[in-house]
Amino acid sequence: MRSFRHPVCFLHCGILPFHNAKLMRVALFVTCLVDLMRPSVGFAAIRLLEAAGCEVVVPETQTCCGQPAFNSGDRRAALALAKKTIAECEGFDYVVAPSGSCADQIRSEYPGLFVDEPEWRRRAKALAARTWELTSFLADVLKVDTVPGEFAGSVTYHDSCTGLRSLGIKQQPRRLLGLVAGLKLKEMPESEACCGFGGTFAVKFGDISAAIAEKKCINAQAAQAGAVVGGDLGCLLNIEGKLRRMGDETTRVLHVAEVLAGVLPNPDGKAG
């Protein structure tokens, strides 16, 4: 009953301390980009986790993990948001995010933020150990062998940098996509190359970022797949925006959770 040990979280999240002990209680860290831009990814993640037998809770007060501040060199803001996120999410068996980048912020960066605060550092480490990116949680922790989604067509997978190089996410999404009825995976050249997003980099150095994105899009198109799929919304927005500007109106750009869950946005981009 972690909630008892952390009354702050108990209050913030409104979680009942008594729950079905058989279910794994998983907090969904929605991520700020999904919240703002693409809610269907959040609902897809809930569907996948529930289908795998988890009790999913969405901590109500969550906002952002603080990575934009951290990567911009604003350590103070990053620290404040880390404390907020830790307090909100530590009362669960696991925390899962549909993003390698946000999951890695919690897993790899939070503990190092607390240099002079040993108690916070302990809590950060404890949370880090329970935090997972969605596809690695499904594949490595839950070891699922079925997924709800169906997909008639081919997809190509873009490996997002942080998930790939910091969390080792490579085979997990591919194995899960292999479970989707009807789906054919076609690898693109240089699937591990950065798409040029880089968070605020995409705005500060828009011309360089767009030029890198163009290379990614040319590689993605070379796969001749119906959709580009990835695990991080930032990369996907970048790739979709560049494909459309290049005049590609047909290649869909989808989050891996949407494909696995069969929760696809309508072709006009609205939540399905």
């Binding site: 934009p68 060199g73 925006g241």
Partner: protein
Amino acid sequence: MRSQAMFFQRRAGEALADPRLQKNFAGLKDKFVGMRARAVANYENDFEELRDAGQAIRDRVIDNLDVWLELFEEKATARGATVLWARDGSEICEHVIAIAQRHGVTKVTKSKSMLSEEAQLNAALAAAGIQPVETDLGEYILQIADNEPPSHIIAPAAHKNLDEVADLFAATHQQPRKTEIPALTREAREVLREHFLSADMGISGGNFLIAETGSVVLVTNEGNGRMVTTLPKVHVVITGIEKIVPTLADFATLMRLLPRSATGQEISNYVSVCTGTKGEADADGPEHTYFVLVDNGRAGLVGSEFQAMLRCIRCGACMNHCPVYQTVGGHAYGWVYPGPMGAVLTSLYTGIENALDLPHASTLCNQCGVVCPVKIPLPELLRKLRERQTERGLRPWSERLALSVWSRLAQRPALYALATKLGVRYLNWLASGRDRIAVLGVAPGWTAGRDFPAPQGRTFKELYSSRQEQKA
């Protein structure tokens, strides 16, 4: 070299708009990335263990740099060399010019030395009436191209293609224009041979200094390094104080890493270990050997949060694998060292305030970090530089304001929910029914080169709480 790092944005934009440069960069990337990947795959043992070993050697040196330097000085002196110390670029120039004048030198041949770029040595030599001749093919091409700066640390003329070199050679050598690489290199050899035979002094860099023997190691592919270090009567080595390795065995370990990481070779065409001056039994070699060991900001990194940068063995793998370097090339970075290592070094050696864009000109994809042979955490160092910029108030006010507003909002969930709700509606209004936004006023950098996909309509939180209400 005077830093132009403050003009990164403009110089990057010029590189992006130059189709010939873009083509040269693409070819370069395919070559370097592919060659390293094959070399790592073909390595007989675990390359990751080798990287660990490389890091350990470099850390052992840098943790006790003063001790190893003293040992090196003692050993090198015992073999007849003279060890000089230079605090900065102007002291490098003073030492080198004084040595040249002492020995009546009017022409020097140079093998590649990035330190001489830090010091703007060629200009200083010329001003002192001493002719410097670059003999590394890439450096030679740049010298006859009106002293262009290098764009890559191991392939200095990487930004030039065959046609450009053919034009340069024809114009400079007054010979019929050649278009085959062997013919061009033969022509360069013929020109350089005269210089090798007539120079009184050779200047080289150093890939490693070996403490236990007092030797300098040169790792080259063209053989010019041997000519520079053995033909003239005076040999001057200019290198950074961090280039020390304790023993020959340590050097052997690092030699397994360096060529594989740099050019994908198991070993370079030439590896020269030069120790002391010409002995009585030696057929050739310099009568006088000088080491100019340079600080120029390095000692200040020892014990700092940037100490790991001193591990660098200058292979160039970080830039070869960097999506930003691959797209804008080396000149955009504006000083001696480009790419991720250059962004860190330029900030640290020329002043954080003189290279504001460089630490931010990275997607933090960590491709550099995973290929670095001595495991320098380059993205982490770039982020620390960003932190130092923030602490010193060096970021533009617009960026500080945006970050501050956003982070205050993100710490207040109710306000954040309201702001995002309104933000999404604003974006949808901009999209006006389409699935994308072509011009985004709040982030013009984004939409200059690509569209911004429209949000789905409502925030996840709105949709989720209404679904929860329906359930209840």
